[in-house]
């Protein structure tokens, strides 16, 4: 898939992934990788940025399999931001689809 496309929707996918369930970094990377093939390293900076922008809150939870894990929780601001992104995405993809259809006729 085109790298620019991936970059554009990565935020939305990450926010959506955490919407219903708090996740730790690695789990989130796995979740995102199911949707798009992305360099795993690039997701952590994105998480950090979203946390700095208060869309995520983090907390540590003990794990039986190793050191404590840092979980990401979507804040109210994060939910609003996610909704905005979804609306924009819908509009964007509708317009592009319509345009492509019109051209192909």
């Amino acid at each position: 898939m085109n790298a620019q496309f991936k970059k554009g929707v990565l935020e939305l996918i990450v926010l959506e992934s955490v919407r219903n369930k708090d996740m730790y970094g690695y789990e989130l990377v796995q979740e995102v990788s199911k949707v798009i093939d992305v360099n795993e390293g690039t997701i952590y900076p994105l998480l950090k940025r979203l946390t700095n922008e208060k869309y995520f809150e983090t907390y540590l939870r003990e794990s039986t399999e190793g050191p404590p894990r840092k979980y990401y929780h979507l804040t109210a601001a994060g939910i609003l931001y996610r909704d905005t992104l979804e609306t924009e995405w819908d509009e964007f993809q509708t317009r592009v689809c319509r345009f492509l259809k019109e051209r192909s006729l």
């Binding site: 690695y26 360099n39 390293g41 690039t42 952590y44 900076p45 994105l46 950090k48 700095n52 840092k70």
Partner: protein, 406 residues
Amino acid sequence: MNKERFLEKLTIRLQVLDEKEKQDILDEYALHIDMKVAEGLSEEEAIQDFGDFEELVADILEAYHVNPKFCTPSKVRKKEWKSLDMSKMKEEGKEACSKAGGFLKRSMKALQKHGKHAYTKIRGFFHQLKNKMKMMCHREQKEKLNDSQDSKRMKGFGQSCKRTFAGVMRGCWNAVCLLTAIVFFVLTAIIVLCFGVLLVWQIQGYPLAGVTLGCLGAILIFGTPAVRLLYFRKKRNQHSGLIFSGIFVFGILFVGLGTGIALKEYASFEYTGIHTIGNADMMMRGEATFESFPEGEEKYMLHCFADEIEVIEDASVPEKTVKYEIRYNQDYVDVMINDMSADGYVCIAPASKAGTGFYDFMRCKDEILKDFKHKRIGTYKTVGIEKVKCRVNPKTAEELYVEKSW
């Protein structure tokens, strides 16, 4: 690249970040690699999944709003060197030595070339100088020299001297320009500072519009030559000259206007006379009974350092006795009474309290600033002993001599 090396490299490249933040992100990556390894991948494979290292670093730095350009490998290479493994160090060492060798080689060539040229010039100069000296010392020999050769040599010597003189003059001129520019620059900095202070006071309502405007003019007057001498001395063109001249003229204009406004402002100040600052709200009472006149005198002496003295004749006061009331400012002074009434002498004087200089200054400052703001000016003094009221028996009143000081 294994996990340890990866984290080490990442640590170096993220050194611009706060220690806690850096550790936070490193922990994330360390945990990620550990989990991949637990799934059966090697450390190298796990790290490969992160993609290009430089892009990763750039992404992390961007997440912290740090421009990745300022944390390029060259900027952190010095620290990174310490953590490189031996083989890499060897390779980079070779490369660096090769570069350094190339640089030294080129430098040596350049030095050789320019050195030779300089040496030839210097030798020629001294050779000419020597000939000149010889010519001066042995005029007879000089006459025998071929006229054409002589003139040629003299011409060369003259040009050399001219070049040397021009070089010295240029150096002196540059030094003078630099010194002048530094002086102007320092002056400008001081005036800018004053301008800032005055501007604040002007906004607070003090009548300083003229002085502030004058300051602005002075900044332009001193700042223009400083900037021109420091930065534009070698970049002269018609436009820059015109601009600088224009700014300079505006500076003079502002100083003129500022002076005019200031004179107008201060000439309209109202003089409000003497202001006594502080309250004489403390009273002290006492009495002294004189026994004999001071030596060589025919009257008892009461010496008071006070703004005002009042003597009242009162029959209820015993003869040869003085009852006094002292009104004074207890914030400013203590009253010192030197009672030598047995010898016919009493002195009442203020004793300044410690720190009253500052008290004096602050009280006067408040008053002066208040008056200045309202375009008034006066004479200010702090009250110590305001008044001494003396009661004496009318029969012996003639025998008392009251002396007032200040």
